[in-house]
């Protein structure tokens, strides 16, 4: 079989010919020999197990110290744990706010910030959040096509459950970066949300507060988080806070560079099936 000539591309050549040249040229790349990963993995797992053992011992020592410190009420009140998944920061511990459900006022979501916008923390007092009663209260409702035009990433949609179809509502807003929210409602109760999928651009800024428990897991090698505990979700800018009281299940995961948040799955198993069905 005669080989295609090596690069370069002729500006007149067809796309098919160019692709053929790229494929042909790439096939000649010389890779280093593939190492014996089987042996390496066994050694790696032994090493990680030994590291975990050392870590467990160190953690046990720290816990003993912490246990002493936690006896002091002031210290106990300040202890928080933070888990970051993509652009979502999850704050554990602290007081869980009492839900005060109000309907949505005209939220200044895309309002012009006062002063230069910045994603870095400042000492400016954060305005009080007005909790939304439902994801349907989010501002910025639009069409899927418009949301896609305004985002730099490809919006993905679940193909499971099979009867889900296109979202009934699509919201787009920008808080540091594009956030797209796809919402499916109950066909018999249009006000009742069946499922919602949040897709966050890589520079969005999202906090979840008031959680005291949840389950960490891995999805495609990245840490994910599952919760069925009521909590607050907040989207922050310097001048705007959008707060929502969430009283359904939530799965947060990161598929670089996009962070996803699924709300309303009936179980973790169903949530993971939905994750796998995203197209």
């Amino acid at each position: 079989m005669s080989e295609l000539p090596i690069l370069p591309p002729d500006s007149q050549e067809s796309d098919v010919a160019w692709e053929g040249r790229v494929r042909q040229t790439a096939s000649h790349l010389r890779y280093p020999p593939t190492p014996d990963l089987v042996r390496g993995m066994r050694a790696g797992m032994r090493q990680q197990a030994a590291q975990r053992l050392r870590l467990v011992r160190a953690v046990a020592a720290v816990l003993l110290i912490l246990a002493g410190l936690m006896a002091v009420p002031q210290v106990r009140a300040e202890v928080r744990r933070i888990l970051q998944i993509g652009v979502v920061r999850i704050f554990f511990g602290g007081e869980t706010p009492t839900p005060t459900i109000t309907t949505l006022p005209a939220m200044p979501l895309t309002a012009t910030p006062q002063g230069a916008p910045s994603r870095h923390p400042t000492l400016t007092p954060i305005p009080t959040a007005t909790p939304l009663g439902s994801v349907l209260g989010l501002p910025g409702e639009t069409t899927l096509a418009d949301a896609q035009d305004r985002t730099s990433f490809t919006i993905t949609m679940p193909t499971y459950p099979a009867n889900l179809g296109d979202p009934d509502h699509v919201f787009y807003f920008n808080v540091g970066d594009s956030i797209v929210v796809l919402v499916w409602t109950d066909p018999d109760q249009p006000d009742k949300v069946r499922l919602s999928l949040f897709e966050f651009g890589p520079n969005a800024d999202v906090w979840k507060k008031g959680l005291t428990s949840g389950q960490e897991l891995e999805i495609d090698g990245q840490t994910a988080f599952w919760s069925d505990q009521p909590h607050y979700t907040e989207f922050y800018t310097n001048t705007t806070v959008i707060s929502r009281w969430v009283d359904t299940t939530v799965l947060v995961w990161f598929e670089p560079p996009i962070t996803y948040r699924l709300e309303g799955a009936e179980s973790l198993e169903e949530a993971l099936r939905i994750v796998k069905s995203l197209r």
Binding site: L7, V22, T25, T34, R279
Partner: protein
């Protein structure tokens, strides 16, 4: 063991059959290592990333859907792991340690003199691809460097096959622009 399907081997590995997992690794380690190498550009770091990929995959094996092919799933983990590693501080720290120990090799830059013209062109093409954005790089690596099918690439990228085709088309157009402007040596060699 060699006649068993990936799904059979996964079921055995889940029950603790180490040989089944070894067999799966042997089948897929080359693709995993090569993808990590393409993303990171250093064989030592690529080996670390490939190893970490299989450790993560093994730990997540119970959640893997055996109705799906294994290779795209492994390559997706490899891609995430390699990209994280490329950005990690630990990688630079390890490189500094190797430098301090006098263990610096030119693994990432093989002896160019010993390469054939085709291999040099392939290397230049790889450098040209590295000028592209991450999404473009990924789709070209999967389709043309690792020779995955459209469906397999779609599985790795978690997008529809049609999106792979359109993304690849755009990536190749951008690659063409990069080659024409920044890699004239490829053009002059070809015209000889």
């Amino acid at each position: 063991m060699a006649q068993l399907s990936d799904a059979d081997l996964i079921h055995r590995a889940r029950r603790g059959d180490a040989a089944a997992w070894d067999s799966l690794m042997q089948q897929h380690q080359e693709a995993v290592f090569r993808l990590a190498y393409l993303i990171i550009g250093d064989p030592d770091d690529a080996e670390d990333a490939a190893q970490e990929t299989f450790i993560r995959a093994y730990r997540s094996l119970n959640r893997f859907d055996t109705d799906r092919p294994l290779r795209p799933w492994l390559l997706r983990i490899a891609s995430n792991t390699a990209r994280n590693q490329r950005r990690s501080f630990g990688r630079y720290f390890a490189a500094l340690q190797r430098l301090a120990r006098g263990e610096v090799t030119m693994h990432g830059e093989p002896d160019v003199e010993g390469l054939t013209i085709q291999q040099r062109d392939a290397r230049a093409l790889w450098q040209a691809v590295q000028r592209l954005n991450e999404a473009d790089r990924q789709v070209i690596y999967l389709r043309h460097f690792l020779d995955l099918s459209v469906e397999e690439a779609a599985g790795v990228l978690n997008i529809a096959p049609g999106t792979v085709k359109s993304r690849l088309h755009r990536a190749l157009q951008r690659l063409k622009d990069v080659v024409e402007v920044e890699f004239p040596s490829l053009r002059s060699e070809a015209s000889q």
